[in-house]
Amino acid sequence: MEIHVDKDACVGCGLCVKDCPMHVYELQDNVSVAVRPNNCMGCLSCHEICPAQALEHRGIYAARRHYIDIKVCEMLRKVV
């Protein structure tokens, strides 16, 4: 697992540090650093909690999504 923190985007709030049950992140000079990437089990709760959307995971298994509203997606496709 590779975890990338966008240093320019990170605001150093430390929410990812507190949230991750596997202690993957540490704050260093007010920026989050993924110090234990191999401990990551891919839950992505850190993505959900990060206010700066500064995180990127590589090599993750994306769980099947059954709840996507097809009509909403069609609308989104037109604008995204």
């Binding site: 839950c43 590589r58 298994y61 099947r64 709840y67 097809i70």
Partner: protein
């Protein structure tokens, strides 16, 4: 647990996918026609939840849903091969859950083995990747870890008990939008 089994599991849950916070999923995966098994599972599960609600109404939502899940687990696992070893039981369980849930045996870096002994407890960490309960909760804007998750807890415990003939317990360690970490305590 054999290295081959663990490698096979890890292979299945590894990809070269890059996932960014801002990614918006634009379609269901897999295609609806590939979801027949999942839908059947949901229908069966709902039927059992209702039946169990009638049986033990008033005992609290968690007790009801846990019991429904456990019944389902016992019922389905009845037809599977009985196994005493944990690896075999997990193999059977993953066949049983296919289409509705998928899981991987997992350990933190500092642990030597997948079967962990800590504070007088023997347990295995399971990372649940695909999960119809999580999908249902997120579709409805509900928190994870509540009564609906108890159905899965019951289901896994029921199935493990049926396959191994031993008592088991499942604890939630962490929930996320993409996976959840659970602890299977062996008794």
């Amino acid at each position: 647990m054999s290295a081959g089994y663990i490698d096979e599991m890890h292979e299945a849950f590894h990809s070269d996918l890059v996932y960014r916070s801002e990614d918006i999923p634009l379609e269901c995966s897999p295609k609806p026609r590939d979801m027949e098994h999942t839908l059947h599972g949901v229908m069966k599960l709902n039927g059992l939840v209702i039946r169990s609600l009638e049986e033990i109404a008033g005992r609290g939502a968690n007790a009801v849903t846990y019991r429904a899940g456990k019944k389902f687990g016992h019922e389905v696992a009845k037809y599977f091969q009985k196994r005493e070893d944990v690896e075999g039981a997990l193999h059977e369980l993953s066949d049983l859950l296919r289409g509705q849930y998928s899981f991987e045996v997992w350990k933190p870096e500092d642990k030597e083995t997948f079967i962990i002994e800590e504070n007088g407890e023997t347990f295995i960490y399971l990372v649940f990747h695909d999960c119809i309960v999580r999908q249902t909760l997120r579709r409805n804007g509900l928190d994870q870890g509540g009564p609906l998750c108890q159905t899965l807890f019951g289901y896994v415990v029921g199935a493990i008990e049926e396959i191994t003939g031993r008592k088991a317990k499942l604890e939630i360690v962490h929930t996320g939008p993409n996976a959840c970490l659970k602890k299977l305590v062996l008794k």
